[in-house]
């Protein structure tokens, strides 16, 4: 794992001191609320519906036990004993007081963490595949690239006052677990024909009210040119991206309105000009970053005895993935307990997960964009003990990738932007399908719920997406179908008129019944059926009255 250098340490400490000063200047009136707002946002501090909210970065989703314990400490000392893991590998605390925030940031700095650039119109926390360094299909670990981008983008003098937020995601595998096509810049580690390392660069993806998939701007970018190239993209965006309308200010709109070919031309010419000033990162610095992500010292190979206990077997089937070392496994801890708030963990649960990482799993944890926690390097001989302890802590729900493993934004229970509740909808769906055997029969299914058009719950890329809106003061839920956030990405299509709060869960049930009726065999997934048959059978299930009317006509 990456360890802070003296430079990082000094930087983060100074940043805390600077923010402490900004809070004081706000309180004595030398900063207006308008002026203070972007400064607090750049340090992760939002104003929510009921209170401030502090969003802390878990860069590329990687952390160790000590850092997870510090989250527990912060939750107990300054918040209400729990935290919420987000779809961007952050953790949010929902009840901090403004005057406590500098101390909370200081406590983060004590464990080499920060809340910089988790909000505001700047380059946000860089995200990466949560299976990095452990996945069986990995070409190269994306985290050194993500760390390099984290450093480069931190307090970047040119790109801290952009037209809108800017999100970068990196994957090093064929199978895209980082949703790179839904980011302002998506990077995929690739090799050219001679085996030289580099990147495929995508630009202009994003969800929100105008969902778009990223387009390839450069098929192969040599590794050493990453920073000047990304800098050129940002410079073009900063200069000619729209600023007249907040909802048209993301780079996806610029790419859409300008055309990818013209954007490519502009980026390439800017890139060539800028090379004279900055021709890329000092490769020795990059080598040091790469070295810090070396794999842990794995145990010698041994034969694995298969699990006998039925509960354990079921949990292994759903929550445990193969590791690149056959005697190791990747464990996903579900933060989607039946009827719980997706992504929430109590301070006790955090301490238990930290202890498991420290005792059994090379002291490493990950946060996934699907709002779960991962132990990436687990010797298989410890699986039974880990399962037992998770079960005692209420963390052994065996539902990863299934119908109750729902992504949901905080919605109207917390968020000032939300137009509808998301968490209770997720809870009701999860209670409706509480029976794990029934969930396993339904198979892989991604339900994603957003409580407003900003789409923090990624509903556009859910196999079933749910968007909560406000229709004349009443919550109304629209359904999109067929979305996909992986390497076969697609934006879900709207199924038709929305549903009331008490109708949405039965509507989801009808969709799933329709899927079960139409699948050709047990292994055909919901998404596969949708792609084979199109929306018709699902619309018929959603709107039986309309179906009956058209049959009668």
């Amino acid at each position: 794992m990456y360890e802070y250098t003296d430079f990082d340490e000094a930087f983060v400490r100074e940043r805390v001191a600077e923010f402490r000063g900004q809070v004081e200047r706000r309180l004595d009136g030398s900063l207006t609320e308008d002026e203070f707002k972007p400064l607090r946002l750049m340090n992760g501090l939002y104003l929510q519906l009921h209170a401030y909210m502090l969003r802390i970065a878990v860069p590329y989703g990687t952390l160790n036990g000590r850092q997870m314990r510090q989250f527990a400490y912060i939750a107990d000392r300054w918040d209400r004993g729990y935290g919420h893991f987000t779809t961007r590998q952050n953790i949010q605390f929902n009840w901090p007081k403004l005057q406590d925030v500098p101390d909370m940031l200081e406590a983060l700095a004590d464990v080499q963490m920060h809340a910089m650039q988790t909000s505001g119109n700047c380059i946000r926390n860089v995200t990466a595949d949560h299976f990095s360094g452990a996945a069986t299909d990995e070409i190269a670990d994306p985290r050194p690239t993500a760390e390099l981008l984290r450093q480069w983008s931190t307090d970047h003098p040119e790109f801290t006052w952009l037209g809108r937020k800017f999100k970068i995601a990196v994957t090093g595998s064929e199978h895209d677990r980082a949703v790179i096509k839904a980011h302002d810049i998506g990077l995929r580690l690739v090799q050219d024909d001679d085996g030289n390392p580099g990147y495929e660069v995508l630009v202009g993806g994003g969800l929100g009210r105008t969902p778009m998939l990223g387009k390839v701007v450069r098929e192969f970018l040599p590794k050493e040119h990453l920073l000047p190239y990304v800098e050129a993209i940002l410079q073009v965006y900063n200069l000619i991206g729209r600023r007249d309308n907040k909802y048209k200010a993301r780079i996806k709109i610029l790419v859409h309105e300008t055309g990818i070919d013209e954007i490519r031309r502009l980026v390439e010419s800017t890139f060539q000009e800028n090379l004279a000033r900055f021709n890329g990162v000092n490769q020795e610095v990059f080598d040091r970053i790469e070295a810090s992500f070396a794999a842990p010292e794995f145990e010698p190979v041994y034969d694995v005895t298969p699990a006998v206990d039925a509960g354990l077997r079921s949990w292994i089937d759903t929550n445990v993935a193969d590791h690149r070392e056959p005697h190791y496994a990747i464990v996903t801890i579900s933060l989607k307990g039946i009827g719980e708030t997706p992504g929430d963990a109590t301070s006790d649960q955090m301490r238990i997960m930290a202890a498991l990482a420290e005792e059994f799993a090379h002291d490493e944890l990950r946060i996934s964009h699907e709002q779960n926690v991962i132990l990436p390097h687990v010797p298989r001989r410890h699986l039974a003990e880990i399962y037992r302890r998770l079960k005692d802590a209420g963390l052994a729900t065996a539902n990863i990738g299934l119908v109750s493993d729902i992504i949901a934004c905080p919605g109207m229970d917390y968020c000032a932007l939300a137009t509808a509740r998301s968490i209770p909808v997720a809870q009701k769906i999860s209670e409706t399908f509480a029976d794990i055997d029934r969930q396993r029969d339904i198979g892989p299914l991604k339900i994603k719920i957003s409580g407003c058009i900003n789409a923090c719950g990624h509903h556009h890329v859910g196999h079933i997406g749910i968007l909560g809106l406000d229709r004349a003061g009443v919550e109304n839920y629209q359904i999109t179908l067929g979305g996909d956030g992986t390497e076969t990405a697609s934006i879900g299509e709207r199924a038709g008129p929305g549903f009331a709060y008490d109708e949405i869960v039965p509507a989801v049930e009808r969709l799933i019944e329709a899927y079960l009726d139409h699948r050709s065999e047990d292994t055909e997934t919901f998404l596969e059926v949708y792609r084979r048959m199109g929306p018709a059978p699902f619309k018929a299930a959603l709107y039986p009255e309309a179906e009956a009317r058209s049959n009668a006509a």
Partner: protein
């Protein structure tokens, strides 16, 4: 009267009595001075359009219509990359927290409206010592 901020502190505007020409002056056909030529730079114009005259220009005044509009930071970078060596001024209601970034992208000074300056005393404009990741990664 506007206030000028530099790394050395608050100063009077030594350009106050001189002309700042509009961006399009080079296409206007009017006589231009050999010395002390200064140009307005609205932040939706292209730096490339000034390239033929960059050697002659003594000051470029980049407009910041609001502190939240960061186009000026990229414009300064571009102008320096294109070889502009003269004085570069950021003009508008920026906040003191942006001073460090302004200097790092190549601005020499900030021209601040009086009303904004009144709320932000000189000590706020002293640039806090902070490392630069960008410099560190490049060297």
């Amino acid at each position: 009267m506007a206030v000028i901020i530099t790394e050395d502190g608050i100063a009077a505007d030594d350009w106050a009595d001189k002309t700042v020409y509009p961006f399009d002056v080079f296409w206007s056909g009017q006589e231009l001075p050999e010395e002390a030529l200064a140009v307005e730079f609205p932040n939706d114009r292209k730096p490339e359009d000034l390239v033929p005259w960059l050697d002659r220009i003594e000051m470029i005044r980049v407009e910041f219509p609001s502190f939240a509009d960061g186009r000026g930071f990229s414009l300064a970078r571009r102008l320096r990359t294109l070889g502009y060596k003269g004085r570069l001024r950021a003009a508008g209601p920026v906040v003191s927290d942006q001073h460090r970034a302004a200097v790092r992208v190549g601005f020499d000074e900030i021209e601040l409206p009086e009303s904004v300056a009144a709320r932000q005393p000189a000590e706020h404009w002293v640039i806090r010592k902070q490392g630069s990741y960008q410099q560190r990664l490049a060297s």
